[in-house]
């Protein structure tokens, strides 16, 4: 693992945030348009507290931001962060692609 290329706690948080279908759905929803937590809660057959928890996990991963407006808490998807999340996962993939190619080069010297 290379600290300079990948921040593992970040990778971990992103994986954790995206590991749940409800959270992926919330992210999809708020990337298109901001929603209050209560509006989100009405979309899912679960308690307000449960939805709030899902939003908190997404927020911790930096995928959404929350803003207070009056008595409402508005959730917006962070498009750039979602893009970055994708590249964090992409960097890990690249690390392995490089390893596989380098392994192949060493094996080629045998021939």
């Amino acid at each position: 693992m290379v600290v300079g290329l990948l921040s593992p706690p970040e990778t971990d948080r992103v994986f954790r945030a995206l590991a749940d279908p409800t959270r992926r759905d919330i992210l999809r929803t708020v990337l298109t348009q901001e929603h209050s937590v209560s509006a989100l809660a009405r979309r899912y057959p679960m308690s307000f507290a449960a939805v709030q928890k899902h939003v908190a996990v997404l927020e911790e991963a930096g995928l959404v931001t929350k803003q207070r407006r009056g008595r409402e808490s508005l959730v917006t998807g962070d498009f750039e962060r979602v893009r970055n999340a994708r590249s964090v996962l992409g960097a890990f993939e690249q690390l392995w692609r490089d390893r596989v190619a380098q392994m192949d080069q060493i094996l080629a010297e045998d021939r």
Binding site: M1, L18, P21, V57, V100, L107
Partner: protein
């Protein structure tokens, strides 16, 4: 190219790499079993690795550091969990500080490697990397797996595409 497949499974927070080599299982195993060969491929091209300790037995430890383009160092270690030479090993890959001591604040990635003989004498390598977990994550993963979905990277692409 020797890479056959890379699958990212968000529900299980794993990444699976499958690669094919035109070399027998024993030869591919040597790439990991021999520290001098391991350091030739473990680091990215711009971050070559140096393997310090190499004790690839259950309970053993492999330590390494990588040197970046500006001379900066990133150290890591494997806690070796299981070894079935020459086909399989499982290690916990973690970060170390400048003195090579494990950094407990950083999550570890589990790496499970398997080598399978192909009919033509070649080798299929399967590496499953599992990102660090904790009780809360496990719970959420269980929630995520209820619908039995095994979603790949395409999901993020789909999310991005939908949001336009």
């Amino acid at each position: 190219m020797p890479i056959v497949r890379v699958d990212k499974d968000l529900d299980n927070h794993t990444m699976t790499v499958v690669a094919e080599y035109d070399a027998p299982v024993e030869r591919v195993w040597q790439l990991y079993a021999d520290p001098r060969q391991l350091e030739r491929f473990w680091g990215p091209p711009t971050w070559p690795a140096t393997v310090v300790d190499h004790d690839l037995i259950p309970g053993g430890r492999v330590t390494y550091f990588m040197t970046g383009p500006d001379g900066e160092r990133a150290a890591g270690y494997w806690d070796v969990v299981e070894v079935e030479a020459p086909r399989r090993f499982m290690v916990e890959d973690g970060f170390a500080d400048d003195t090579g001591q494990p950094n407990p604040d950083m999550p570890k990635t589990r790496m499970e490697l398997e080598l399978d003989e192909r009919g033509d004498g070649g080798t299929t390598m399967t590496v499953v990397s599992t990102f660090a977990s904790n009780a809360a994550m496990t719970q959420m993963l269980e929630m995520g797996m209820e619908d039995g979905m095994s979603q790949a990277m395409g999901q993020i692409d789909a999310i991005l595409a939908e949001a336009g």
